[in-house]
């Protein structure tokens, strides 16, 4: 007898089997212990900043799918960073932020101040299942620089459903930061000493690097100058045992002292000044609104082939300062042998300028204004590769090398007079080199 109407259960059985064999939550290697990732990153910008950053990430398996996470980062930064001040057709002299010395900038050059700083940060996290379908993650972090201190807490709930093929993530975070610039917080829109206004300090004329101090000093006198709250909702969907798609939305709001105390904006002579048009009159400390809220939409797709993995992600960012940005990233992990893999990756980023961004101004600045190029329009790309060599089942050493190039509008249409002769957004080139080891014990 032929049963003509036997229904197909293939799809339902395949889904159920997929959930059974999904190794997302099931520890295949139920070894309690420490999984560590120790690395050192060298980041070097051409003619600007150098950073050496050792990091240690450790994850302690407490059993029953419960984990303790720890992350330690130390940065040592030094070099020269743009101040936002405009170049001039003559050599310029600026005071250091502390007001104790001054430095000069050659004609036509972008003003940059020399600095050095150190930063240390410690993050702790606790990750625990509440029941078979719910995880709770709690975290706290503390970080300090010579002139900045940050404290934060965060919490997330992860909810699995649909046979564990779907995960909903809800997160909340709060940071309280203290800003303690050398020489104190300048009054926004006040004239920077030595830039054409009456000088308030003498200076010794030499080039002095700022930044003696340690990572703890900004905690003395800690006050919450800046509060940042964030919320995230995300969905991760397993499409097959080897493919997943992720979509996150987050909203963040910062309030308080959001100005960069070291950035300036230069008032230049207008077109009516003839040959002097575009040359600096004076530079003023920048001023930003005391609130900033931003949104990000993030999507990611990961697909595993036989042994390789393709990942693609896209992020859209928009805020109430009128900055919109797009980030796209693509990586492919290629297994060359049992022990060696290569992961080439490419990243592209593009943003519009904040509505109060000006490369310079012809008026005495009275309202929010910044010439910080990080708030300007620019785009950048990163090309890199990570190579790893496996040392047994859970250990590997890896090397990551990447090249970064950032470009903006070097000759904006609204440049005034002599400013048209200068490169107002010099190209930034940087190289990342990171060497690390993943080790389990």
């Amino acid at each position: 007898m032929q049963l003509r109407n036997t229904p197909s259960i293939a799809q339902a059985l395949s889904l159920a089997t997929c959930a059974l064999l999904s190794d997302k939550a099931l520890a295949l290697n139920p070894v309690a212990g420490w999984q560590t990732d120790a690395a050192v990153l060298f980041y070097s910008e051409k003619d600007r900043v150098d950073v050496i950053e050792p990091t240690l990430i450790a994850r302690r398996d407490l059993g029953d799918d419960e984990y303790l996470n720890l992350q330690l980062v130390y940065d040592s930064l030094s070099g020269a960073t743009p101040t936002g001040a405009a170049p001039a057709s003559h050599a310029q002299t600026f005071s250091t932020p502390s007001g104790n010395s001054s430095y000069s900038v050659a004609a036509g050059e972008q003003p940059r101040r020399k600095f050095s700083d150190v930063r240390g940060s410690l993050s702790l996290g606790w990750d625990k299942p509440l029941d078979r379908l719910t995880r709770l993650q709690l975290g706290a972090h503390i970080s300090g620089e010579t002139d900045y201190a940050s404290l934060g807490i965060n919490g997330s709930g992860l909810f699995d459903f649909n046979n564990k093929n779907t995960t909903l993530t809800l997160s909340l975070g709060f940071d309280g930061d203290h800003v303690a610039p050398k020489g104190g917080k300048p009054t926004p829109l006040s004239c920077a000493p030595g830039t054409g206004c009456a000088s308030t300090s003498g200076g010794n004329g030499g080039e002095e690097e700022e930044g003696e101090g340690n990572i703890f000093q900004a905690f003395s006198g800690y006050t919450m100058d800046k509060k940042i709250g964030s919320a995230l909702v995300g969905v991760t969907q397993l499409l097959s045992p080897k493919a997943l798609v992720q979509l996150n939305y987050s909203y963040t709001r910062a309030q308080g002292y959001l100005t960069d105390p070291y950035k300036m904006v230069t008032r230049v002579y207008g077109e009516t000044a003839g040959a002097s048009a575009g040359d600096p009159i004076a530079s003023y400390f920048e001023s930003r609104p005391s609130s900033h809220s931003w949104n990000t939409l993030f999507s990611k797709f990961a697909w595993g082939f036989a042994h390789d993995t393709l990942q693609a992600s896209y992020r859209y960012f928009w805020d109430d300062w009128q900055i919109h940005s797009h980030t796209a990233e693509l990586s492919y992990q290629l297994m060359l042998s049992d022990a060696i893999y290569l992961r080439p990756y490419a990243r592209y980023y593009r943003q519009t300028a904040a509505d109060f961004y000006r490369h310079s101004t012809t008026e005495r600045p009275l309202d929010y204004i910044s010439a910080d190029q990080r708030l300007g329009a620019f785009h950048d790309n990163t090309l890199g590769v990570r190579a790893a060599y496996g040392l047994g089942a859970n250990n590997e050493i890896y090397l990551r090398i990447a090249r970064f190039v950032q470009r903006g509008d070097s000759h904006p249409g609204d440049a005034i007079g002599v400013q048209r002769n200068f490169d107002l957004f010099p190209e930034l080139q940087a190289v990342y080199t990171q060497l690390g080891i993943n080790y389990q014990f």
Partner: protein, 295 residues
């Protein structure tokens, strides 16, 4: 402790061991003895782990705790919960024919080739203790009625094959075969582009006669059926596949069904479901669109 032996066969290595009361092997497409030693060790450890954890014959595991809970609720771990979720789904998909509580019927049925059938009364008494729908399963807590038992034997071996395959895939990129007593998984084509060739046993002469060969690039293979386990009375052959809904053997079940599916676990379910369909086995398999051999 796993006892492993190794054989070089033509141009690949085999690692052999015993687990789950059957001969097991891992084949790897590499002329590397260290690799096969490592992979066979992983496979054997995982097979033993799953056997210890889910065997109904051990007095020290979660199955024993559940089966001796006397009606009390038992909280289970993540992996057990996944298997119970899976068993519940298979019960639903088979309209109640696949049931992990049907093991108590073994008390009445002994398939030893004799003519000793149980009485209908014996069977109906046992049936009061059979039925997944009598079980309270609210992840991760299971509550059986007193006298009921569960047995994951119908899933365990195929599940172990797929778990081992996952571990081996993480440990090597060479093509391999995991074979636990005939239920197996093939990870992909061999380096020379050829497929692995799998022999299908004649159910009447297991391990001695082959009735066919499967050429398979990737996927799971599982077989249900044992032609030597039956009862014979008044010229009627009672196979050992019991219908948990009435407690009697499924009439006209095939002697043996072998199925190829993306995973060994799915292959095992298809072959088990097909046996439970009795005379409808082929129609059921045709409707699923899977490759099978039905004897």
């Amino acid at each position: 402790m796993c006892e492993l032996t190794f054989e070089q066969r033509q141009d690949f290595w085999a690692g052999l061991f015993e687990a789950m009361a059957c001969p097991c092997e891992v084949l790897v497409d590499a002329a590397d003895r260290d690799l096969i030693q490592r992979l066979a060790r992983i496979a054997c450890d995982e097979a033993r782990r799953i056997e210890h954890k889910f065997s109904r014959y051990r007095p020290d595991n979660i199955i024993h705790t559940i089966n001796n809970s006397h009606g009390r609720p038992v909280r289970v771990d993540e992996e057990t919960a996944r298997l119970l979720d899976y068993a519940a789904e298979c019960h639903r998909l088979s309209a109640g024919k696949f049931d992990i509580t049907s093991g108590v019927l073994r008390a009445a049925w002994r398939f030893d080739g004799s003519d000793r059938l149980p009485t209908p009364q014996q069977v109906s008494e046992l049936l009061t203790r059979v039925g997944w729908d009598k079980v309270q399963w609210h992840t991760p807590v299971i509550q059986l009625q007193p006298g009921m038992e569960i047995d994951l034997g119908g899933i365990g071996k195929e599940y172990a094959v797929d778990r081992i395959a996952q571990l081996l895939r993480a440990a090597t990129r060479h093509s391999f075969v995991v074979n636990l007593g005939g239920d197996l998984y093939v990870s992909g084509r061999r380096a020379d582009g050829n497929t692995w060739i799998i022999g299908i046993d004649d159910p009447a002469a297991t391990g001695e006669k082959s009735i066919g060969e499967i050429s398979i690039a990737q996927g799971g293979v599982a077989t249900s059926g044992d032609a030597r386990r039956f009862l014979l009375r008044d010229g009627v052959r009672y196979g050992h596949i019991l219908d948990p809904r009435n407690g009697w053997p499924v009439p006209d079940a095939p002697r043996s069904v072998t199925v190829i599916a993306p995973t060994c676990t799915e292959a095992g379910m298809y072959s088990t479901f097909a046996m439970l369909e009795g005379a409808g086995a082929r129609a059921f398999l045709d409707a699923q669109g899977v490759t099978y051999w039905c004897v």
